[in-house]
């Protein structure tokens, strides 16, 4: 009996459990699902429990249960736009990272092994430095006396420093760069899994490089694209440090909003509600993207 149905025996009534032969019980205990126990424990303690606490705090009022915080979130005219802007930031970042990351992944898989070793280092390097360091590097590049402005003024292209820091487009670009490995790595793995004979077959049938790329390579790499988009989207939505430092005080996103309500406003129930709303929205977008992706790639998993 395979593991999953075997574990049902554990939940079965005592009489049925007693009827089970010793050998069967042994197999249940050694069954594969139990290897996931540490992960399950981790999930319960560090994911499920905090979410439960959030729910509990979010719906508790002085006189017992209340939906007043949810009501406020939906109607105060501030919270929903912040949520919307945060989700848009995530999507825009994922889009920019895709545009930057896909060609990079293509370059990687078509490079010689020696060049690949160099490229992989460049691609994962951002993962090896902390997000804070990377964010401040961007401040140095984008600031009033930053690299870009010094260059532009030095060349006489602009009269004075241009506002780059604290603008949404630059925030998106910065986040896209910082989260780029999350986009590039899954796409590289999907591209490497494509049988090179498929592109050869395409060429032999008379298709040029672009046709092969569009009709064969891109469709077959969609699973990697979907994974990359989901990862970058979720990471960008929650990137508190980058959002605050490159985005500045005037661009408010959900993580900072939660922080303000909780730490500065000491309004823990409302902070909990905002957190839940962010969690639910991100999960909803992820589920939608995932579903769209599955539809687009369903023939790869017949």
């Amino acid at each position: 009996m395979p593991g999953p149905s075997g574990s049902a025996a554990v939940a079965a009534p005592a009489a049925a459990a007693a009827a089970a032969t010793p050998r069967r019980r042994l197999r249940v205990r050694l069954g594969r699902p139990w290897l996931a126990l540490p992960l399950l424990a981790f999930f319960l303690v560090f994911v499920a429990l905090p979410v439960l606490v959030l729910v509990a705090v979010g719906i508790s009022g002085p006189d017992g249960l209340t939906l007043v915080h949810v009501h406020r979130f939906l109607t105060d005219g501030l919270s929903l736009p912040v949520l919307g802007r945060t989700l848009m930031l995530g999507l825009a970042t994922a889009a920019v990272a895709l545009v930057l990351g896909y060609p990079l992944a293509l370059l990687f898989v078509s490079a010689s092994p020696r060049l690949q070793r160099l490229l992989i280092l460049l691609i994962v390097l951002p993962l090896l430095t902390s997000a804070v360091v990377r964010t401040f590097a961007w401040v140095v590049i984008l600031g009033r006396q930053g690299l870009v402005n010094e260059t532009l003024t030095g060349l006489g292209l602009v009269g004075g420093p241009v506002a780059l820091l604290y603008t949404e487009p630059m925030l998106i670009l910065t986040l896209a760069q910082i989260e780029l490995p999350l986009m590039t790595l899954p796409i590289i793995s999907a591209l490497s899994a494509i049988d090179p004979r498929l592109t050869e077959a395409s060429a032999a049938l008379g298709a040029g490089r672009w046709r092969t790329l569009l009709l064969v390579v891109v469709p077959l790499s969609l699973p990697g694209v979907i994974a990359g988009v989901l990862l970058v989207f979720a990471a960008a939505c929650g990137a508190l440090v980058t959002q605050s430092i490159v985005g500045g005080g005037r661009l408010l996103f959900m993580p900072m909003y939660i922080y303000q309500q909780g730490m500065q406003g000491q309004n823990w129930p409302f902070a909990a509600t905002i957190s839940l709303m962010l969690l639910i929205s991100v999960l909803a977008v992820v589920a939608l993207l995932n579903m769209a992706g599955r539809l687009a790639t369903r023939h790869l998993h017949v």
């Binding site: 298709a207 040029g208 009709l215 017949v302």
Partner: protein, 370 residues
């Protein structure tokens, strides 16, 4: 196996079959020479097999002909024109890859349509051609399936239809039957033979299976370690193997070491095992000295009593193989010898028995330098 044993449809392949000439083609991957100075000429419409053990360079040579690889040196010509620098589509080659390489995200019909779209055929003409090709390979009922939903044999037919749809002038097949089980393999071999016969398309098939090569090809090129050992008809390859390698790779053979005693007239060879063999002539090696005589198991027969005997041997084992019986024999000095004869065609012998042997046809015993 093929449910619709339909009347053979007229071939939809309107081939302008090309000839192929390879001149001193060599190829190196890094320090390793994988193709070593290969020259051969293929006539339009011929069915050629590249035969050799795994790793001898067959696929590499096929990829050189296809235009995927530029050889380190040497020249490839098709229908008389040098094709160096041209890609596979410009060379007009149709390719069936070892694993078929069907596009997994496209239906059977879209796979066959792929090359037609790339060539910009109008929609109506493409649809008609796809229907025609799927009918030709008897896959019309599967037009809307995805490759994963097909068996190996069906995938192969789709790959053939896809390659042939664009009217190539040469068809290249890399181990086309390697992934099929034995019964299906025979069906597909018959199918390929039919397609070749109907279309008359120049065809090169890579295989490591000598029976397949002998059964299907007009001519066989036998390779060993990147060198062309022999290029000839199946009969030439089987009956007059040019080298020791060919004689042992194609079919089974007994190699008997010995000394060639004379250079003129009938060849007398003193085998190390004792008996002196007399052959009409020693070929391909006729120089006196150490040689190996190759005798096919089916070219040996048990002598009837009273007949002169070339060898005496002891029967070690008898293996009935269906229509034939194989004998495992040992000469006086222990040299092993295999003998094959048709069931019931000769007196039987039991293990342990002493038997006398004759060479059935001494003209088909090649002699190689040792």
């Amino acid at each position: 196996m093929l449910a619709d044993a339909a009347l053979p449809s007229p071939s939809p392949v309107r081939a302008r079959s090309a000839s192929v000439e390879l001149t001193s083609v060599s190829h190196r991957f890094g320090p390793a020479t994988v193709i070593d100075d290969v020259s051969l000429a293929i006539a339009p419409g011929e069915f050629i097999a590249f035969l050799g053990p795994s790793g001898c360079g067959k696929t590499t040579l096929l990829r050189i002909v296809a235009g995927f690889i530029t050889p380190s040196s040497g020249e490839v010509r098709m229908s008389g024109a040098a094709v160096g620098g041209l890609g596979p589509a410009e060379r007009g080659v149709g390719i069936v890859f070892q694993n078929y390489a069907l596009f997994p995200h496209m239906t059977v019909a879209r796979n066959v349509d792929y090359g037609l779209r790339a060539r910009g055929w109008p929609r109506a003409r493409r649809d008609a051609r796809v229907r025609e090709m799927l009918g030709f390979v008897r896959m019309s009922a599967f037009a809307d399936r995805y490759p994963r939903q097909l068996s190996g044999g069906q995938q192969q037919r789709v790959a053939l239809a896809r390659a042939l749809a664009v009217d190539p002038s040469i068809l290249l097949l890399d181990e086309p039957f390697g992934a099929l089980d034995k019964n299906l393999r025979l069906d597909m071999q018959i199918e390929l033979e039919r397609i070749h016969r109907d279309a008359g398309l120049t065809t090169i098939m890579v295989t490591h299976d000598q029976e397949e090569a002998l059964a299907l090809a007009d001519r066989i090129a036998v390779f060993d370690a990147g060198r062309l050992e022999q290029f000839g008809t199946p009969q030439e390859i089987y009956d007059r193997p040019a080298t020791r390698f060919v004689s042992s790779f194609v079919g089974h053979t007994n190699l008997l070491p010995g000394r060639l005693l004379n250079s003129r007239g009938e060849a007398r060879i003193a085998t190390d095992a004792g008996p002196v063999l007399v052959l009409p002539q020693a070929r391909p090696c006729g120089r006196p000295g150490r040689v190996l005589v190759a005798i096919r198991p089916e070219n040996l027969r048990l002598a009837t009593s009273g007949e002169a005997s070339a060898f005496a041997a002891v029967v070690r084992a008898v293996m009935p193989l269906g229509p034939t019986i194989a004998y495992d024999l040992a000469l006086a000095d222990g040299t092993p010898l295999k003998l094959l004869h048709m069931r019931g065609a000769a007196p039987g012998a039991t293990p342990g028995a002493q038997v006398h042997l004759q060479i059935a046809d001494p003209t088909h015993c090649p002699v190689y330098i040792d």
